[in-house]
Protein backbone atom coordinates (compact mmCIF):
# COMPACT_ATOMS: atom_id res chain seq x y z
CA UNK A 1 0.00 0.00 0.00
CA UNK A 2 2.71 2.41 -1.07
CA UNK A 3 2.12 4.75 -4.03
CA UNK A 4 4.53 4.90 -6.94
CA UNK A 5 6.84 7.90 -7.09
CA UNK A 6 5.59 11.13 -8.65
CA UNK A 7 6.58 14.72 -9.20
CA UNK A 8 4.79 17.21 -7.03
CA UNK A 9 3.81 20.84 -7.57
CA UNK A 10 1.81 23.11 -5.33
CA UNK A 11 0.91 26.20 -7.35
CA UNK A 12 -0.05 29.34 -5.46
CA UNK A 13 -2.65 30.60 -7.93
CA UNK A 14 -5.27 29.13 -10.23
CA UNK A 15 -3.45 30.59 -13.23
CA UNK A 16 -0.27 28.78 -12.27
CA UNK A 17 -2.22 25.60 -11.76
CA UNK A 18 -3.88 25.87 -15.16
CA UNK A 19 -0.50 26.61 -16.79
CA UNK A 20 0.91 23.47 -15.16
CA UNK A 21 -1.98 21.38 -16.38
CA UNK A 22 -1.56 22.79 -19.85
CA UNK A 23 2.13 21.90 -19.82
CA UNK A 24 1.78 18.42 -18.32
CA UNK A 25 -1.35 17.29 -20.13
CA UNK A 26 -2.57 13.86 -19.11
CA UNK A 27 0.52 13.30 -16.93
CA UNK A 28 -0.97 15.58 -14.30
CA UNK A 29 -3.59 14.81 -11.73
CA UNK A 30 -5.14 17.40 -9.45
CA UNK A 31 -4.96 16.75 -5.72
CA UNK A 32 -7.64 18.48 -3.68
CA UNK A 33 -8.99 16.42 -0.78
CA UNK A 34 -7.26 13.32 -2.07
CA UNK A 35 -9.60 10.95 -0.27
CA UNK A 36 -10.37 9.02 -3.44
CA UNK A 37 -7.13 9.71 -5.30
CA UNK A 38 -4.64 8.77 -2.58
CA UNK A 39 -6.17 5.35 -1.82
CA UNK A 40 -6.16 4.63 -5.56
CA UNK A 41 -2.50 5.65 -5.73
CA UNK A 42 -1.68 3.46 -2.73
CA UNK A 43 -3.38 0.53 -4.43
CA UNK A 44 -1.36 1.50 -7.54
CA UNK A 45 -4.62 1.63 -9.48
CA UNK A 46 -3.68 5.21 -10.30
CA UNK A 47 -0.10 6.31 -10.79
CA UNK A 48 -0.06 9.86 -12.07
CA UNK A 49 3.45 10.99 -12.93
CA UNK A 50 2.72 14.48 -11.64
CA UNK A 51 0.53 15.68 -8.81
CA UNK A 52 -0.73 19.24 -8.92
CA UNK A 53 -1.79 20.08 -5.38
CA UNK A 54 -4.30 22.92 -5.45
CA UNK A 55 -4.60 23.12 -1.66
CA UNK A 56 -2.13 26.03 -1.49
CA UNK A 57 -4.28 28.25 -3.69
CA UNK A 58 -5.94 30.83 -1.47
CA UNK A 59 -9.55 31.90 -1.75
CA UNK A 60 -11.15 28.66 -2.93
CA UNK A 61 -12.81 27.60 0.30
CA UNK A 62 -15.91 29.79 0.14
CA UNK A 63 -19.55 28.92 0.58
CA UNK A 64 -21.49 32.01 -0.41
CA UNK A 65 -24.77 33.14 -1.84
CA UNK A 66 -24.32 35.50 -4.76
CA UNK A 67 -26.34 36.48 -7.85
CA UNK A 68 -29.03 33.92 -7.20
CA UNK A 69 -26.66 31.03 -6.65
CA UNK A 70 -25.16 29.16 -3.75
CA UNK A 71 -21.49 28.95 -4.66
CA UNK A 72 -19.20 26.26 -3.36
CA UNK A 73 -15.48 26.79 -4.00
CA UNK A 74 -13.07 24.07 -5.06
CA UNK A 75 -11.50 23.68 -1.62
CA UNK A 76 -14.68 23.53 0.45
CA UNK A 77 -14.46 20.36 2.54
CA UNK A 78 -17.46 18.15 3.12
CA UNK A 79 -17.35 19.03 6.80
CA UNK A 80 -17.49 22.76 5.91
CA UNK A 81 -20.72 22.10 4.07
CA UNK A 82 -22.13 20.15 7.00
CA UNK A 83 -21.33 23.00 9.39
CA UNK A 84 -22.35 25.93 7.18
CA UNK A 85 -25.32 27.82 8.63
CA UNK A 86 -26.24 28.97 5.14
CA UNK A 87 -26.35 25.40 3.88
CA UNK A 88 -28.08 24.05 6.95
CA UNK A 89 -30.87 26.61 6.74
CA UNK A 90 -31.38 26.73 2.98
CA UNK A 91 -30.23 23.37 1.64
CA UNK A 92 -31.02 20.53 4.01
CA UNK A 93 -30.66 18.21 1.02
CA UNK A 94 -26.96 19.10 0.94
CA UNK A 95 -26.64 18.26 4.62
CA UNK A 96 -28.41 14.95 3.94
CA UNK A 97 -25.88 14.26 1.24
CA UNK A 98 -22.65 15.31 2.84
CA UNK A 99 -23.43 13.62 6.14
CA UNK A 100 -23.63 10.18 4.50
CA UNK A 101 -20.39 10.51 2.56
CA UNK A 102 -17.63 8.29 3.94
CA UNK A 103 -17.05 9.23 7.58
CA UNK A 104 -16.35 12.42 9.57
CA UNK A 105 -12.57 12.13 9.27
CA UNK A 106 -12.65 11.65 5.53
CA UNK A 107 -15.12 14.53 5.29
CA UNK A 108 -12.62 16.77 7.03
CA UNK A 109 -10.33 16.39 4.01
CA UNK A 110 -12.58 15.47 1.10
CA UNK A 111 -13.88 18.32 -1.05
CA UNK A 112 -17.37 18.76 -2.44
CA UNK A 113 -16.04 19.70 -5.87
CA UNK A 114 -13.76 16.67 -5.84
CA UNK A 115 -16.78 14.47 -5.23
CA UNK A 116 -18.01 15.61 -8.67
CA UNK A 117 -14.66 15.86 -10.43
CA UNK A 118 -13.83 12.23 -9.62
CA UNK A 119 -16.67 11.20 -11.94
CA UNK A 120 -17.62 8.22 -9.82
CA UNK A 121 -21.30 7.22 -10.19
CA UNK A 122 -21.10 5.85 -6.64
CA UNK A 123 -20.40 9.31 -5.22
CA UNK A 124 -23.31 11.03 -3.56
CA UNK A 125 -23.14 14.68 -4.58
CA UNK A 126 -23.71 14.08 -8.29
CA UNK A 127 -27.29 12.85 -7.79
CA UNK A 128 -28.04 15.76 -5.49
CA UNK A 129 -26.49 18.27 -7.88
CA UNK A 130 -28.58 16.77 -10.69
CA UNK A 131 -31.70 17.21 -8.60
CA UNK A 132 -30.70 20.79 -7.77
CA UNK A 133 -29.88 21.74 -11.37
CA UNK A 134 -26.35 22.77 -10.38
CA UNK A 135 -23.79 24.27 -12.71
CA UNK A 136 -20.13 23.34 -12.69
CA UNK A 137 -17.70 26.21 -13.29
CA UNK A 138 -14.56 25.01 -15.04
CA UNK A 139 -11.48 27.16 -15.48
CA UNK A 140 -8.80 26.49 -18.05
CA UNK A 141 -6.42 28.19 -20.44
CA UNK A 142 -9.41 29.27 -22.53
CA UNK A 143 -10.99 30.98 -19.55
CA UNK A 144 -14.05 29.98 -17.56
CA UNK A 145 -17.07 28.06 -18.72
CA UNK A 146 -20.29 26.85 -17.14
CA UNK A 147 -21.25 23.22 -17.55
CA UNK A 148 -24.75 22.21 -16.45
CA UNK A 149 -24.28 19.20 -14.22
CA UNK A 150 -26.53 17.05 -16.42
CA UNK A 151 -23.85 17.35 -19.09
CA UNK A 152 -20.96 16.82 -16.70
CA UNK A 153 -20.87 13.01 -16.55
CA UNK A 154 -20.63 11.67 -20.10
CA UNK A 155 -19.34 8.19 -19.13
CA UNK A 156 -18.03 6.03 -16.31
CA UNK A 157 -15.30 7.82 -14.35
CA UNK A 158 -15.33 10.53 -16.96
CA UNK A 159 -16.32 14.18 -16.65
CA UNK A 160 -16.74 17.04 -19.06
CA UNK A 161 -13.56 18.62 -17.70
CA UNK A 162 -10.70 18.88 -20.18
CA UNK A 163 -7.28 17.69 -19.02
CA UNK A 164 -6.18 21.30 -18.54
CA UNK A 165 -9.28 22.45 -16.67
CA UNK A 166 -9.97 22.75 -12.95
CA UNK A 167 -13.38 22.54 -11.35
CA UNK A 168 -13.35 25.92 -9.64
CA UNK A 169 -16.87 26.18 -8.29
CA UNK A 170 -20.26 24.57 -8.07
CA UNK A 171 -23.21 26.96 -8.54
CA UNK A 172 -26.59 25.94 -7.25
CA UNK A 173 -29.62 28.06 -8.12
CA UNK A 174 -31.26 29.48 -5.01
CA UNK A 175 -34.63 27.80 -4.98
CA UNK A 176 -37.90 29.72 -4.89
CA UNK A 177 -40.13 29.56 -1.82
CA UNK A 178 -42.16 26.38 -1.29
CA UNK A 179 -39.22 24.22 -2.21
CA UNK A 180 -38.03 21.11 -0.41
CA UNK A 181 -35.45 18.48 -1.07
CA UNK A 182 -34.03 15.34 0.40
CA UNK A 183 -31.32 12.81 -0.26
CA UNK A 184 -31.76 9.22 0.90
CA UNK A 185 -29.07 6.62 0.64
CA UNK A 186 -28.99 2.99 1.58
CA UNK A 187 -25.51 2.00 2.63
CA UNK A 188 -24.41 -1.33 4.08
CA UNK A 189 -22.61 0.53 6.85
CA UNK A 190 -21.15 3.95 7.52
CA UNK A 191 -18.39 4.64 5.05
CA UNK A 192 -19.80 2.50 2.28
CA UNK A 193 -20.82 3.69 -1.13
CA UNK A 194 -24.55 3.68 -1.79
CA UNK A 195 -26.29 0.45 -2.65
CA UNK A 196 -28.63 3.04 -4.12
CA UNK A 197 -29.28 6.70 -3.42
CA UNK A 198 -31.99 9.10 -4.50
CA UNK A 199 -32.05 12.90 -4.43
CA UNK A 200 -35.32 14.74 -4.87
CA UNK A 201 -35.93 18.48 -5.08
CA UNK A 202 -39.43 19.82 -5.62
CA UNK A 203 -41.09 23.20 -5.66
CA UNK A 204 -44.83 23.60 -5.27
CA UNK A 205 -46.94 26.32 -6.84
CA UNK A 206 -49.77 28.21 -5.13
CA UNK A 207 -52.22 25.42 -5.76
CA UNK A 208 -49.87 22.84 -4.27
CA UNK A 209 -48.85 21.25 -7.54
CA UNK A 210 -45.30 20.44 -8.46
CA UNK A 211 -43.64 23.05 -10.69
CA UNK A 212 -41.35 22.47 -13.62
CA UNK A 213 -38.32 22.84 -11.33
CA UNK A 214 -38.56 19.26 -10.03
CA UNK A 215 -35.30 17.36 -9.95
CA UNK A 216 -34.60 13.70 -9.27
CA UNK A 217 -31.08 12.25 -9.27
CA UNK A 218 -29.94 8.65 -8.71
CA UNK A 219 -26.71 7.37 -7.16
CA UNK A 220 -24.82 4.21 -8.09
CA UNK A 221 -27.48 2.59 -10.23
CA UNK A 222 -25.80 3.07 -13.59
CA UNK A 223 -22.47 3.82 -15.22
CA UNK A 224 -23.01 7.51 -14.58
CA UNK A 225 -25.09 9.45 -12.07
CA UNK A 226 -28.61 9.41 -13.46
CA UNK A 227 -31.03 12.27 -13.88
CA UNK A 228 -34.43 10.63 -13.73
CA UNK A 229 -35.92 12.80 -16.48
CA UNK A 230 -39.06 10.75 -17.02
CA UNK A 231 -39.96 10.83 -13.37
CA UNK A 232 -39.22 14.55 -13.30
CA UNK A 233 -41.50 15.07 -16.29
CA UNK A 234 -44.18 12.97 -14.65
CA UNK A 235 -44.34 14.98 -11.43
CA UNK A 236 -44.50 18.35 -13.16
CA UNK A 237 -47.86 19.95 -12.61
CA UNK A 238 -49.07 17.10 -10.46
CA UNK A 239 -50.53 17.11 -6.99
CA UNK A 240 -48.17 14.70 -5.25
CA UNK A 241 -50.71 12.49 -3.56
CA UNK A 242 -49.98 8.93 -2.59
CA UNK A 243 -50.83 7.55 -6.02
CA UNK A 244 -48.68 10.09 -7.82
CA UNK A 245 -45.75 9.45 -5.52
CA UNK A 246 -46.09 5.75 -6.14
CA UNK A 247 -46.17 6.21 -9.88
CA UNK A 248 -43.25 8.64 -9.88
CA UNK A 249 -41.16 6.25 -7.86
CA UNK A 250 -41.92 3.40 -10.25
CA UNK A 251 -40.93 5.56 -13.19
CA UNK A 252 -37.67 6.53 -11.49
CA UNK A 253 -36.91 2.86 -10.81
CA UNK A 254 -37.41 2.19 -14.49
CA UNK A 255 -34.83 4.81 -15.31
CA UNK A 256 -32.12 3.15 -13.24
CA UNK A 257 -29.67 0.72 -14.80
CA UNK A 258 -28.10 -1.10 -11.90
CA UNK A 259 -25.93 -4.17 -12.20
CA UNK A 260 -25.48 -7.16 -9.89
CA UNK A 261 -22.56 -6.69 -7.55
CA UNK A 262 -21.46 -7.28 -4.01
CA UNK A 263 -24.04 -4.78 -2.73
CA UNK A 264 -26.90 -6.78 -4.17
CA UNK A 265 -28.64 -7.93 -7.31
CA UNK A 266 -29.86 -5.47 -9.92
CA UNK A 267 -33.54 -6.09 -9.23
CA UNK A 268 -32.98 -5.28 -5.59
CA UNK A 269 -31.30 -2.00 -6.40
CA UNK A 270 -33.99 -1.08 -8.88
CA UNK A 271 -36.60 -1.68 -6.23
CA UNK A 272 -34.56 0.35 -3.76
CA UNK A 273 -34.71 3.26 -6.19
CA UNK A 274 -38.48 2.94 -6.13
CA UNK A 275 -38.67 2.79 -2.34
CA UNK A 276 -36.16 5.57 -1.76
CA UNK A 277 -37.69 7.82 -4.42
CA UNK A 278 -41.10 7.58 -2.79
CA UNK A 279 -39.64 8.28 0.63
CA UNK A 280 -37.50 11.15 -0.64
CA UNK A 281 -40.50 12.79 -2.30
CA UNK A 282 -42.45 12.49 0.94
CA UNK A 283 -39.52 13.93 2.91
CA UNK A 284 -39.15 16.76 0.36
CA UNK A 285 -42.85 17.55 0.67
CA UNK A 286 -42.52 17.69 4.45
CA UNK A 287 -39.68 20.13 4.05
CA UNK A 288 -41.74 22.29 1.73
CA UNK A 289 -44.09 22.59 4.64
CA UNK A 290 -41.23 23.53 6.93
CA UNK A 291 -40.46 20.11 8.30
CA UNK A 292 -36.91 18.93 8.85
Amino acid sequence: MIPRSFEYSAPGTLDEAVALLQKLGSDAKILSGGQSLIPMMKLRLASPPHIVDINRIPGLDYITEKDGFLRIGALVRESDLERSELVRSRFPILVDTTSVIADPLVRNQATVCGNLAHGDPANDHPATMLALGAIVVAVGPRGERDVPVENFFPALFTTALEADEILREIKIPIPPPSTGGAYLKLERKVGDYATAGVAVQITLNNSGACTAAAGIGLTNVGFTPIKAVKAEAFVKGKQLDQAAVKQASEIAAGESHPVDDIRGPADYKRDLVRVLTARAIVRALERVKGGV
Binding site: M1, I2, P3, R4, S5, F6, E7, Y8, A10, L31, G34, Q35, I38, P39, M41, K42, L43, I51, D53, N55, R77, S79, A102, D103, P104, L105, V106, N108, Q109, V190, G191
Partner: protein
Protein backbone atom coordinates in the same frame (compact mmCIF):
# COMPACT_ATOMS: atom_id res chain seq x y z
CA UNK B 1 13.06 14.94 -2.60
CA UNK B 2 11.48 18.03 -1.11
CA UNK B 3 12.21 19.99 2.03
CA UNK B 4 9.33 20.26 4.45
CA UNK B 5 8.85 21.82 7.84
CA UNK B 6 6.04 20.45 9.94
CA UNK B 7 5.21 21.50 13.47
CA UNK B 8 4.38 18.33 15.35
CA UNK B 9 3.15 18.56 18.93
CA UNK B 10 4.49 22.12 19.05
CA UNK B 11 7.96 21.32 17.77
CA UNK B 12 9.22 22.22 14.29
CA UNK B 13 10.58 19.32 12.31
CA UNK B 14 12.50 19.87 9.10
CA UNK B 15 13.03 16.94 6.77
CA UNK B 16 13.79 15.99 3.20
CA UNK B 17 11.05 13.74 1.96
CA UNK B 18 9.89 11.99 -1.17
CA UNK B 19 6.60 13.56 -2.31
CA UNK B 20 4.97 10.13 -2.04
CA UNK B 21 5.84 9.75 1.64
CA UNK B 22 2.60 9.41 3.56
CA UNK B 23 2.10 11.60 6.58
CA UNK B 24 1.67 8.55 8.79
CA UNK B 25 5.07 7.21 7.76
CA UNK B 26 6.63 10.62 8.30
CA UNK B 27 5.26 10.67 11.83
CA UNK B 28 6.08 7.05 12.65
CA UNK B 29 9.32 6.45 10.82
CA UNK B 30 10.97 9.84 10.37
CA UNK B 31 9.94 11.36 13.69
CA UNK B 32 9.67 7.98 15.47
CA UNK B 33 6.38 8.93 17.10
CA UNK B 34 4.85 5.47 17.01
CA UNK B 35 1.61 6.15 18.85
CA UNK B 36 -0.09 6.83 15.50
CA UNK B 37 -0.93 3.44 14.02
CA UNK B 38 -1.73 1.93 10.64
CA UNK B 39 -4.69 -0.41 10.46
CA UNK B 40 -6.19 -0.57 7.00
CA UNK B 41 -4.35 1.53 4.39
CA UNK B 42 -7.61 2.48 2.66
CA UNK B 43 -8.89 5.25 4.96
CA UNK B 44 -11.49 3.08 6.66
CA UNK B 45 -10.17 2.31 10.15
CA UNK B 46 -8.92 5.61 11.56
CA UNK B 47 -6.05 4.11 13.59
CA UNK B 48 -3.82 6.70 11.91
CA UNK B 49 -5.93 9.71 12.88
CA UNK B 50 -4.04 12.89 13.74
CA UNK B 51 -5.17 16.47 14.06
CA UNK B 52 -3.96 18.58 11.15
CA UNK B 53 -4.46 22.31 11.61
CA UNK B 54 -7.27 21.62 14.04
CA UNK B 55 -9.06 18.95 12.04
CA UNK B 56 -8.89 15.22 12.64
CA UNK B 57 -7.74 13.46 9.47
CA UNK B 58 -6.50 10.06 8.46
CA UNK B 59 -2.75 10.44 8.12
CA UNK B 60 -2.49 7.37 5.87
CA UNK B 61 -4.40 9.34 3.24
CA UNK B 62 -2.42 12.58 3.34
CA UNK B 63 1.06 13.07 1.91
CA UNK B 64 3.62 14.43 4.32
CA UNK B 65 4.41 17.17 1.86
CA UNK B 66 0.82 18.41 2.20
CA UNK B 67 1.57 19.10 5.86
CA UNK B 68 4.47 21.40 5.03
CA UNK B 69 4.14 24.58 7.05
CA UNK B 70 1.22 23.21 9.00
CA UNK B 71 0.61 21.91 12.52
CA UNK B 72 0.09 18.31 13.46
CA UNK B 73 -1.04 17.01 16.83
CA UNK B 74 -0.53 13.33 17.60
CA UNK B 75 -1.46 11.24 20.61
CA UNK B 76 1.95 11.96 22.11
CA UNK B 77 1.01 15.63 22.27
CA UNK B 78 -2.21 15.24 24.26
CA UNK B 79 -0.74 14.99 27.74
CA UNK B 80 0.01 18.40 29.19
CA UNK B 81 2.39 18.94 32.12
CA UNK B 82 2.32 15.24 32.94
CA UNK B 83 -1.45 15.20 33.10
CA UNK B 84 -3.67 13.19 30.79
CA UNK B 85 -6.31 15.21 29.01
CA UNK B 86 -9.95 14.66 29.91
CA UNK B 87 -10.55 12.20 27.11
CA UNK B 88 -7.50 10.13 27.96
CA UNK B 89 -8.68 10.13 31.55
CA UNK B 90 -12.16 9.13 30.35
CA UNK B 91 -10.77 6.15 28.46
CA UNK B 92 -8.93 5.08 31.61
CA UNK B 93 -11.88 5.48 33.93
CA UNK B 94 -14.50 3.97 31.64
CA UNK B 95 -12.41 1.08 30.26
CA UNK B 96 -12.57 2.59 26.79
CA UNK B 97 -9.65 0.57 25.48
CA UNK B 98 -8.52 -3.01 25.35
CA UNK B 99 -5.71 -3.80 22.91
CA UNK B 100 -4.97 -0.10 22.60
CA UNK B 101 -4.33 -0.14 18.87
CA UNK B 102 -7.27 2.03 17.81
CA UNK B 103 -7.05 4.18 20.92
CA UNK B 104 -4.76 6.96 19.64
CA UNK B 105 -7.04 7.47 16.65
CA UNK B 106 -10.11 7.50 18.87
CA UNK B 107 -8.42 10.10 21.10
CA UNK B 108 -7.50 12.35 18.20
CA UNK B 109 -10.99 12.19 16.69
CA UNK B 110 -12.39 13.11 20.08
CA UNK B 111 -9.92 15.95 20.52
CA UNK B 112 -11.48 17.79 17.58
CA UNK B 113 -15.04 16.61 18.13
CA UNK B 114 -15.33 17.61 21.78
CA UNK B 115 -13.91 21.06 21.07
CA UNK B 116 -16.89 21.68 18.83
CA UNK B 117 -19.53 19.80 20.80
CA UNK B 118 -19.81 20.60 24.48
CA UNK B 119 -22.86 18.43 25.09
CA UNK B 120 -22.91 15.68 22.54
CA UNK B 121 -25.71 13.14 22.52
CA UNK B 122 -24.84 9.45 22.39
CA UNK B 123 -25.98 9.37 18.78
CA UNK B 124 -23.70 12.28 17.89
CA UNK B 125 -20.75 10.58 19.57
CA UNK B 126 -21.43 7.35 17.71
CA UNK B 127 -21.47 9.19 14.40
CA UNK B 128 -18.36 11.16 15.36
CA UNK B 129 -16.38 7.96 15.86
CA UNK B 130 -17.82 6.17 12.85
CA UNK B 131 -14.56 6.68 10.96
CA UNK B 132 -12.63 4.83 13.67
CA UNK B 133 -12.94 1.08 13.89
CA UNK B 134 -12.50 -0.71 17.19
CA UNK B 135 -12.50 -4.49 17.25
CA UNK B 136 -12.27 -4.97 21.03
CA UNK B 137 -14.65 -2.75 22.96
CA UNK B 138 -17.94 -2.79 21.10
CA UNK B 139 -17.79 1.01 21.40
CA UNK B 140 -19.99 1.14 24.51
CA UNK B 141 -17.21 2.27 26.81
CA UNK B 142 -15.66 4.55 24.20
CA UNK B 143 -18.97 6.39 24.10
CA UNK B 144 -18.84 6.59 27.89
CA UNK B 145 -15.28 7.90 27.76
CA UNK B 146 -16.38 10.68 25.43
CA UNK B 147 -19.28 11.50 27.76
CA UNK B 148 -16.90 11.53 30.72
CA UNK B 149 -14.60 13.96 28.93
CA UNK B 150 -17.44 16.19 27.77
CA UNK B 151 -18.69 16.39 31.33
CA UNK B 152 -15.22 17.27 32.66
CA UNK B 153 -14.73 19.86 29.96
CA UNK B 154 -18.02 21.49 30.82
CA UNK B 155 -17.07 21.52 34.49
CA UNK B 156 -13.45 22.45 34.25
CA UNK B 157 -12.82 24.10 30.93
CA UNK B 158 -10.83 22.85 28.04
CA UNK B 159 -8.08 20.30 28.16
Amino acid sequence: MAAINVKVNGVDHKAEVEPRLLLVHFIREVLRLTGTHIGCDTSHCGACTVVLDGRAVKSCTVFAIQADGREVLTVEGLEQDGKLNHLQEGFFQEHGLQCGFCTPGMLMTGYEFLKNNAEPSEDEIRHAISGNLCRCTGYVNIVKAYQYAAQKMREGGAQ
